[in-house]
């Protein structure tokens, strides 16, 4: 599904990603771990197509198509979803109105009619129950005055509504208490299928207890320095990142 080859990218003159190789297939869950400043969030932004970052070398392919010239909204239409680490506020635009617009824009791009209101409402009810979201929450302005947990839950709610092919969860666990973490992870697990893939970006092993990865990659200084199975995450938890840093130098 996703194939990243020797990806170099940066902002202005500063190179942040220095040759990433990663392949994610349908039905897989990949975890990307690494210390602060290793390039985790840059990688997710580059996959989503944020223009601020310049790809200087290498490629990102989605189902065989090079995404270099593809705009962020077109990537979204093709099924790329990014759960933001810091979701932005849009005052005056309700959660419902926002997701309705997002769904209909994607449908329009695929040549479909707008989703009928009753169908939309049914879908919203279904997915909000899945994530234990209060009806009143849906009429609030997007992310305005939301707690950290509410913001993240709202991200996963949007993911549930949009049913992406490739979901990237950027530090979805940060700012979540244990109950919220469980609800969010549970939601993600229910959405998982053999047709879609998930990339979980995280600092800690904690989230991976709930969303169990098939592969774990360690990102350091813009490169994947180690890959392994889920047991790698436990090893990292125990030993920290320092031993890998040394290994990378060698």
């Amino acid at each position: 599904m996703l194939k990243i080859t020797d990806l170099h990218a940066g902002i202005e003159d500063k190179e942040i990603l220095k040759g990433i190789n990663l392949e994610v297939n349908a039905g897989e869950v990949h975890a990307i771990m690494g210390p602060n400043g290793s390039g985790k969030s840059t990688l997710s932004a580059v996959i989503a197509g944020k223009e601020e970052f310049e790809v200087t070398k290498g490629s990102v392919e989605l189902n065989g198509e090079d995404l270099d010239e593809v705009s962020p909204e077109e990537r979204a239409h093709k099924g790329v979803f990014l759960s933001f680490q810091y979701p932005v506020e849009i005052p005056g635009v309700s959660v419902t109105n926002f997701i309705k617009t997002a769904i209909n824009e994607s449908r329009k791009a695929r040549g479909l009619e707008e989703m009928p209101a009753n169908k939309m409402l049914k879908l919203i009810r279904e997915k909000s129950e899945l994530l234990d979201i209060d009806r009143r929450f849906l009429s609030r302005s997007l992310n305005e005055g939301f707690s950290g947990g509410e913001k993240k839950r709202n991200e996963i709610f949007q993911m549930a509504m949009l049913e992406p092919k490739l979901a990237i969860l950027d530090e979805t666990d940060s700012g979540l208490d244990i109950d919220a973490l469980r609800i969010v992870a549970n939601g993600v697990n229910k959405l998982k299928s053999k047709d879609n893939a998930v990339i979980v970006i995280t600092h800690y092993q904690r989230l991976l207890e709930y969303i169990v990865p098939d592969f774990v990659h360690v990102l350091h200084n813009g490169k994947i320095v180690k890959s392994g199975g889920k047991e790698l995450a436990l090893e990292l938890e125990e030993k920290g990142y320092d031993w890998l840093k040394n290994e990378a130098v060698v």
């Binding site: 989503a48 197509g49 944020k50 223009e51 601020e52 010239e69 705009s71 962020p72 909204e73 990537r75 979204a76 239409h77 979803f81 990014l82 933001f84 979701p87 932005v88 849009i90 005052p91 005056g92 635009v93 109105n97 926002f98 997701i99 617009t101 997002a102 824009e105 994607s106 791009a109 302005s141 997007l142 949007q158 949009l162």
Partner: protein, 481 residues
Amino acid sequence: MAYTEEELKKELETKEYEYGFYTDIESDTLPVGLNEDIIIAISKKKEEPEWMTLWRLEAFKYWKEMEEPEWANVHYKKPDFQSISYYSAPNKKPKYNSLDEVDPELLETFKKLGISVDEQKKLAGVAVDIVMDSVSVATTFKKTLAEKGIIFCSISEAIKEHPELVKKYIGSVVPKRDNFYAALNSAVFSDGSFCYIPKGVKCPMELSTYFRINQAGTGQFERTLVIADEGSYVSYLEGCTAPSRDENQLHAAVVELIALDDAEIKYSTVQNWFPGDKEGKGGVYNFVTKRGLCEKNAKISWTQVETGSAVTWKYPSCILKGDNSIGEFYSIAVTNNFQQADTGTKMIHLGKNTRSTIISKGISAGKSQNSYRGLVQVNSRAENARNFSQCDSLLMGNECGAHTFPYIEAKNKTAQIEHEATTSKIGEDQIFYCNQRGIDTEKAIALIVNGFSKEVLNKLPMEFAVEAQKLLEISLEGSVG
């Protein structure tokens, strides 16, 4: 392609006025210039009674001694008042019974504006008194209104048919010598609308008037007078679009509202005069005086969506004379390119327990300047007066400006006045967030702007809210993508 703020700015600059066309309708125009003879000629052309002619002449006398105000935060080349033609009426001036008789070219103009008379007729419950180049050319739904005793006609007709009402109220809220432009309007007003709602009558439909400017170099001086008698209610809509012109056009309207005891007037405006091109050339000068008077327990709400004009100078105000009266002002002002807007309101609290609410939303893009100017005045006898003001500004790009000038004068210790203000900017992060959800930049801006303006859009009558939303999109992001 995704999108940076730089590009957004560039694209906004290239936004052209969508309604830039001109209808060639024969007009009957007076020679340029302004003197007593011209005023007498206007009055004569309109077959006015002598008292009206004298009223105009008196206003002209005041105007000659007045100077153009300079306190507003706008800069423009002052109009040469002697090079303007003060009267222009469509030549064919029949009384229509049906729309089929209306000049097809005129109907075509309305069609281009997307608010054709046909369409308007279908919008059940909306009576339209269309003012094109100063003279009413079509009036509908008159009969339904007449049954309720409601008078809704052009001001010229009212001067002839209902002189007692006009004589009593015209100039009672905005006196002839109130300000430079009001005095000019009083001297030369060409036409406008008149509305009277009798005691206890709730007007069953939204009354609406569309104003156009359609003659090169013709000033437009509308005069509107709305009187809601005791216990009555009316919702009045006014909307404007104007064809594109090279030279500046002056628009100096006066609107007076009178809400007698227990009456309520809702006055909504969507204004889209030609704003000038992207270099700041051309565009309408909009110098308007709008004011309402509230008697006991009366209520006046002004709602405005201002997207057009090169220069706007406009402060719809309420004089809360009667005890327990209420004044409201809800405004969205959008400026782009080189547009300048200095707009706001005055809430004058005279009576006891008077209340006022001000919600102002300013959106600036391009190199435009957008100012809110408001006065909340509580006089010494206004016990327990309350005011709440909220002024929010949204900026797009780095070259525009947003300014807030709130004036507060409280002469009574019991007054409670609140003022809140925010300034924000549409950020790349917000746009990227929307993009990531599959919403393109054009739609994202529309979404953000509509969210920002929601509190005010919600105050508009349904059919107007849709048009206003469309206008916001056209004014800001129509060229994007």
